[in-house]
């Protein structure tokens, strides 16, 4: 029998038909929608005079533009309010399940999907958001789509997609102290560049990946898009099954046993061929931080910003433009640079494990006076758990401001903006120009590094603080 990859197995099982010299008609099991990329899709359905074909396969939540304070009140920003109201109207009209502001399972779409157990191994999952790749942590094919495709899924439950090439990235060995899954993915992207996996779907494998919790795996798959990959996935295992067991939408009883039996078959065959294979050693990975304006511009935190040696033409111009925006010079160290804001949150690092890591680190300490520290749980469930575990009290004692769930300062569509020229060390996923507010300067790092920066007010190696 032909040896196939995990990606092949899931993909091939979802092809309705292949168009000759064209894409596949690809069936979608679960579709997540939010308020920003769905309204035009619904509008177009109306214009065409068609409805939502399989409403039970779509789940909605408002997350991108929502305020992170006073969520029980009417949204003040008129345009944001209109988008959220449109989402409510569309969900009511077509019978789509909505986890609205203030409800028990409200949160960032890529946090609540796994939390509810909607995300399961072997599924195909899409959403009008590029970080849909997060769900790949469960051994699902999950990726972001445009609004035209949101419309296609609503109308037909299918999209037209050409199958991506396959890449396997293995990380072997044991991670050092103070090194997290965020550092793994920032390290990989720094090695292969922000476009290094364009055209590929990535399977993450190896002992270092297998040792990670589901939260940590989600952080890695989440950022697959930041190296250009269509998505990333990890074969399901006992860690996956243990996470899903008992979740609201997970199969129960006999159906659970059957599901697990099937999920255990979802792995790459020994000897299956990938178009590209990369292997990294966990021992080589140190706490990472970005210094530029795309996620590939990352270095180990105690390293120097690269010099322009060997660069020429538009490559060099683009590099210097980026450093100019950041206010950094080629060749200088990044440690010790002054910081104004820290942000803990987003679909990358807004889960309970991330909040625990920060709380444990800052327990008994105060943030630096010069720092504004925001912590935004990824969901109501995360917020509730952080309260119950006493983490909120620790963080507030340390001077962090806890806000309500949403995408928040990751993309600053709401009022959570970093002011122009200010530096933010952020657990989010993108350091693009203006991403966290016009003129804002973003440095991406792990929750541990962010915690260390919050205490010292400067770029700090988390391994150097309090002997941690």
């Amino acid at each position: 029998m032909e040896k196939t990859t995990l990606f092949d197995k899931i993909w091939d099982a979802h092809v309705v038909k292949s168009v000759p010299a064209g894409p596949d008609v690809f069936f979608i099991d679960k579709h997540f929608i939010h308020e920003v990329t769905s309204p035009v899709a619904f509008l177009n359905l109306e214009k065409r005079g068609i409805g939502v074909k399989y409403p039970h396969r779509t789940i909605a939540t408002p997350d991108h533009n929502v305020p992170t304070v006073d969520q029980d009140q009417t949204i003040k920003d008129k345009l944001s309010r209109m988008q959220v109201e449109k989402l409510r109207q569309n969900c009511a009209k077509y019978g789509i399940e909505l986890h609205d502001l203030g409800s028990a399972h409200h949160g960032i779409v890529h946090v609540i999907g796994p939390e509810l157990g909607v995300t399961q191994p072997g599924m195909t999952i899409v959403c009008g958001d590029s970080h849909t790749s997060t769900h790949g942590a469960f051994g699902a094919i999950a990726f972001g789509i445009g609004t035209s495709e949101v419309e296609m899924v609503l109308a037909t439950q299918c999209i037209m997609q050409s199958k991506a090439k396959k890449m396997r990235i293995s990380v072997e060995g044991t991670l050092g102290k103070g090194v997290t899954s965020k550092d793994i993915i920032l390290y990989i992207i720094s090695k292969i560049s922000a476009a290094g996996a364009t055209g590929y779907f990535v399977e993450y494998a190896g002992s270092a990946i297998q040792s990670l919790s589901m939260e940590a795996r989600m952080t890695i798959c989440n950022m697959s898009i930041e190296m250009g990959a269509r998505g990333g996935l990890i074969a399901p295992d006992e860690t996956t099954f243990a996470y899903l067991k008992g979740k609201e939408y997970a199969p129960k009883g006999e159906a659970w046993d059957q599901a697990v039996a099937h999920w255990k078959t979802l792995k790459t065959d020994d000897g299956a061929i990938f178009d590209k294979e990369l292997v990294f050693q966990a021992a080589d990975i140190e706490p990472m931080i970005t210094y530029g304006t795309n996620p590939g511009m990352g270095i180990k935190i105690n390293g120097n910003i690269p010099s322009t040696q060997g660069m020429e033409g538009s490559n060099k111009t683009s590099y210097l433009k980026s450093l100019d925006y950041m206010g950094f010079a080629p060749g200088e160290p990044i440690l010790g640079k002054s910081v104004d804001y820290v942000f803990v949150g987003s679909c990358t690092n807004g889960r309970i494990e991330d909040i625990r890591a920060v709380a444990q680190f800052v327990k008994g300490h105060k943030k630096a006076d010069s720092i504004t520290a925001w912590i935004v749980p990824g969901s109501r469930e995360v917020e509730k758990q952080a309260q119950a575990e006493g983490l909120v009290a620790i963080l507030e004692e340390a001077g962090f401001e806890l806000r309500q769930p949403g995408c928040s300062a990751c993309l600053a569509m709401n009022d959570d903006k970093i002011p122009a020229g200010k530096y933010a060390v952020s657990t989010s996923n993108r350091n693009f120009e203006g991403r966290q507010g016009p003129g804002a300067r973003t440095l991406l790092a792990s929750p541990l590094t962010v915690a260390a920066v919050a205490i010292t007010g400067r770029i700090t190696d988390p391994r150097e603080v309090f002997g941690n």
Binding site: V16, F27, A195, T198
Partner: protein, 196 residues
């Protein structure tokens, strides 16, 4: 939405050689709050085009009257980052019908094809040739011929062929979109769905 047919486009160009232009630059997130598709062109490249007070920045190419046209010639890895289709809506609304680059981000390219903006991938050499030719003569005309799958610098005759799959090519030439196709095969999809 079905869109305008695309066959042969002859136009002057707008050069933007910057590499890794992400969709947050093409249309910043704070301008994604509309519930309809119109008007995004005004905010195309907003933060490169205007300062905080809304005054046009004279050093940005869209504010330079020397350059205009329906073809954007862009640097490597154009359209990375967010899947926001609004980025393509903004390009389209501004008046671009074709984007040329030596390397496109995946989702962006897909979104272009779904909106009727033709993404043309050229070799790095040809991209350099285009940038040089535009610098030498900003009024130089480029022909993008979809039926022939060629892009030509008309002044010199320098040309290159580009790839596009037959299905998407046919769609673009006729102004069809994927939904038209999917709705036509609804019974096949229903049969597939019923087994799941």
């Amino acid at each position: 939405m079905a869109y305008d047919k695309f066959t042969i486009l002859k136009s002057t160009t707008v050069p933007l050689p910057t590499e890794n232009v992400d969709t947050d630059q093409i249309i910043p997130a704070r301008f994604l709050k509309a519930t309809e598709r119109e008007g995004f062109g005004d905010n195309l490249f907003r933060d490169w085009r205007y300062d905080a007070a809304g005054t046009p920045k004279s050093d940005f190419v869209l504010n330079d009257p020397t350059y205009n046209g329906k073809i954007l010639v862009a640097g490597k890895n154009f359209g990375s980052g967010s899947s926001r289709e609004h980025a393509v809506w903004a390009l389209y609304d501004y008046g671009f019908r074709c984007v040329v680059s030596s390397f496109f981000a995946d989702i962006f390219k897909n979104n272009c094809l779904n909106i009727g903006v033709l993404p043309v991938t050229v070799t790095p050499d040809f991209a350099e040739k285009l940038f040089s030719a535009i610098a030498a003569d900003p009024q130089t005309v480029v022909e993008v011929n979809l039926p022939q799958q060629t892009i030509t610098l008309l002044a010199t005759g320098d040309a290159e062929s580009f790839d596009i799959n037959e299905y998407k090519k046919d769609n673009m030439q006729h102004g069809f979109d994927d939904i038209d196709y999917l709705i036509n095969i609804a019974p096949e999809i229903e049969a597939f769905a019923s087994k799941r």
